[in-house]
Subunit: 233 residues, 2 copies
DNA sequence: GTGGCCTAGTGGCTGAGCCACTTGGAGCGA
DNA sequence: TCGCTCCAAGTGGCTCAGCCACTAGGCCAC
């Protein structure tokens, strides 16, 4: 109660940086794909430390408004730094089933191609991602990052730049579904088993088996997501 | 295209910290209000720098899952660190009109009381927040922080711990509406004018005028929000 | 008991620095 | 001239060490 009368939250510096950044983007008329000033430069011109600028950028990153490329600069994903209104979120969510259908089509083929075309190095990459996932899960994590690496490695091993490009366009939504799916009870271990099956088929050079294993995996993910989202209309 | 086949995003360290943190909370059975380990401690036990831990905490902060009190530790807001599913977001959103009604009731009375009870120091605080808001707007910002400080200062000046507690329970949703409202074109300046009117009434010790000015202001905010959210059902 | 004070604990922020990765151009060879 | 390699500059990722501001809790004086 003594605390109730005081200001409710202290403003954090990164929040002010955030606001300045948003204002800058709209004033400078930056569009999707445009490059933001370098972190060191921003820190200098805003008169704050680089760490604070970093915190602001991290926030924009998790909100999907910005993409930071290691060594290559930070880029706008949309034409603005404003957070997506709830309405659009819902809209996007309604299109998720479509995305998961598309994912099934693409990844099934990718697994098939990977089984045929993978080099030994690429197979090792897939194996590494599987190990990483296992470590994550053993360490109490969900294996999110390992899952991501696995699918990226399979995509690379398929040697189809066109399919890879398609995957890229739905990568964001897949990430979303991955995060949610892997948080379900017992999910990480089941996921690990399914990925292992995919890996083994690819290692054995068996395209049909790889495709089947991948299809089963993607459908597992999709089913959960489709079930827990029942639009009221 | 050469880039299309490579892993799509590199994992950031703060994301892994995030995952560990979530796992920790669920394993340790922490509940809303419980204290997280200190940043230095987390950094040490996770084997990462404090800056990375900080980035993860900032993410949790903007997602409203955690509250960091300067000098007082970091606390869970809910029973979990998982992000709120879209469904609940929509649910909460539907209750927003109610919140804004409640806000009108509370803040109108708070303004009235502040006009009667404010000390000179408190009046100065309100004045300061107004100046801060003006600076923000001149500097290209939206005046979000100044707005927050203004209402906090008025609440303090009203000397009603009960009303202040009520305000606290809807503070989160008010913040949300503030962020969105102030981003509308021309909004910051109009907001500044309305706040100035409230300030002047409080300074003059005119409770009726203060209440009226506050009511007008809150209704402006509410109207915009109510208009742009039309549930489909 | 009450109130003020002091100190340890903790978050906020900074500055300097190293490493990893990207990019673009210089320079070399065919 | 074209194309390739390689390197240096630019930039993000992360760490370390440290200072300051604020909070909380215990101690002490009254």
């Amino acid at each position: 109660m003594s605390e109730a009368l005081r200001p409710m939250v202290k403003s954090r510096l990164y929040e002010q940086v955030l606001e300045r950044l948003r204002a800058y983007v709209s004033e400078a008329g930056l569009k999707a794909g445009d490059k933001l000033p370098a972190e060191r430069e921003l820190a200098a011109s805003l008169g704050v430390s680089r760490a604070s600028v970093k915190q602001a950028i991290v926030v924009l990153e998790v909100q999907g408004l910005v993409e930071a490329r290691h060594g290559g600069g930070t880029y706008l994903v949309r034409d603005t730094l404003d957070v997506e209104p709830v309405e659009q979120l819902v809209e996007r969510r309604k299109r998720l089933p479509e995305v998961l259908e598309a994912r099934e089509a693409l990844e099934t083929k990718l697994a098939e191609l990977a089984a045929e075309r993978r080099t030994d190095d690429e197979l090792a990459d897939i194996r590494d991602s599987l190990d990483f996932m296992r470590d994550e899960i053993i360490g109490g994590g969900f294996g999110v990052e390992g899952d991501r690496r696995f699918h990226a490695a399979v995509t690379a091993a398929a040697h189809s730049s066109l399919l890879a490009d398609f995957m890229k366009t739905i990568a964001g939504q897949i990430t979303e579904s991955r995060n949610e799916s892997l948080r379900q009870p017992g999910r990480p271990h089941r996921s690990l088993a399914q990925h292992t099956a995919i890996y083994e088929a690819i290692a054995a050079g068996d395209p049909k088996k790889a495709a089947a294993a991948m299809r089963k995996h993607v459908r597992t993910v999709a089913k959960v997501r489709l079930l827990d989202w029942v639009p009221e209309d």
